[in-house]
Amino acid sequence: MSRLAVPKTYKLYVGGKFIRSESGRVYEVATTKGSFSVSSVNAAKASRKDARDAVVAARAAVSGWSGTTGYNRGQVLYRIAEILDGRRAQFAEEIAAFEGVSASAAQAQVDEAIDLWVWYAGWADKYVQVAGNGNAVSGPFFNLSVPEPTGVVAVIAPQSAGVPGSLLGFVRAVAPVLVSGNTVVVIPSEKAPLAALSLGEVFATSDVPAGVVNVLSGSPAEIAPWLAAHADVNALDLLGAGELEWVDLQIAAADTLKRVLPPEPGPDAGAPSLERITFFTETKTVWHTKGLL
């Protein structure tokens, strides 16, 4: 007797919980190759109210996550790499089946994503030293400028299948934002959201506090305007918004003075850089009196 397949329902990851959309909607994500156990799976389709709830969860997580030491955040991000490494087979299979790439290309993408978590983890207790500095001032003061996390960041992850790929593109967008202590509401690739949603399971089991990463699968064209206009979102990363009316998103974001990173095209979209970390920070400058002796 043949065994029945157990198709998985991929759910949103909000506030540390795997939830269905409040709208009850799902959409079909189809495989491009027959190698997966089923030909298509359902993923939850987030609504604007899910986005609203995700921002509330992300806001609640800011103080805890940004309050940890850089060293501790680095350990947590490194832990993501460790857990992801242990589940590489699942990720490679999902990528191969739903992005239509070869098994070796899928494997290479997972490896690069893991390495990228390690790379960004290393920055967590170092970027302050690089981006901050002591300022020379004409008076008896120590004057120090240090970068501080900006708060809640809405991210639109790269949408196109292929390079850099749904998992790597997602990690390139999300990891640098987390380094400084921001929390994230992210819309993964609409066509291939599974790697991102599975990565939610990695976050849930790797000491990342609830609400620090919130993953909303669904239509970026539908959800992004609400996040861009949301008064409680501090910054917007439009990395994967190239095919949307992203100038409108930028205009909506300007109403509440958000930092906005524009879309990047091509395989190098969101390539690892220190600037992606420091862009989502605010500079705090402290004046402290010097002893005159």
Partner: protein
Amino acid sequence: METTRAGTTVAPASRALEVIGGDLTERSLRRYLEGIPGVDAVGLEARAAALGTRSIKTTSKAWALDTIIRLTDLTTLEGADTPGKVKSLVAKALVPDPDDMSTPRVAAVCVYGDMVPHAVEALGSAHDDGATGRINVAAVATAFPSGRASRSVKLSDTSDAVAAGADEIDMVIDRGAFLSGRYGQVFDEIVAVKEACKRPDGTYAHLKVILETGELNTYDNVRRASWLGILAGGDFIKTSTGKVTPAATLPVTLSMLEVVRDWHRLTGEKIGVKPAGGIRASKDAIKYLVTVAETVGEEWLQPDLFRFGASSLLNDVLLQRQKLTSGRYSGPAYVTID
């Protein structure tokens, strides 16, 4: 404590005399209260849950949000309260949202008795009789929140607050006595506090009777305590102090509203209801509005007959209002921190 003997007469409150009859004794009061039919708990909770599923949108929602603000007793009841804290509470009561002057004012500010003079002073002309957008001062009294003090302390607590200018007194019942079945003692106390609410000119401060439903354990007790509070002369029955969990819940409020409805059918008199504590989201508050309208009628949706006792609810309502006005979601950075 000595047990009250069954034949002891209790205070001759006019409502009780009318409903129960001339020989008002501990026994007749007990017989009346225990003769009230029990509550179908499953049915009550199902009814409350059904009322909570109504979808209130757009213009109805805008109306509901403004109504919630008009019905709110903006509350601060902390041991750490200071005159400055009360002053900023009053400022918020007068102008809930400085970015939108069309926001209505709340019904009252609710403070501890010793803060009443500060609240009255801060309200200034907004506390005058007949002022448009008048805001009342409500004071909790009778050894709030536990109610564990002697009768004389409770009465002077009340009369002090009234003398200082409180328009409304929120008293707690003696839950210990109620749960031990000493209904007469609870009854007498409410009657005495009501007398202490009397002002020199013969008018009375409004009396809200806090049942503290979280300590009454059963819906039957809530229903009995509601009747007791009304019979003894309460103008309002209020669910909770906010210091005990669970505080106000929808089924409990529904059962109290049913008593108020029955009392209105029986006597034509309108009693107010105030759920307090634990109502933090506009969505929850709207469920209460629906429940009131469906149980006693829409005429109860006015400050004289229905109040929310809340502190953080107002901020959530303001955020929802801002969302309706601007079309985008607002955030906690756009309302005051209380």
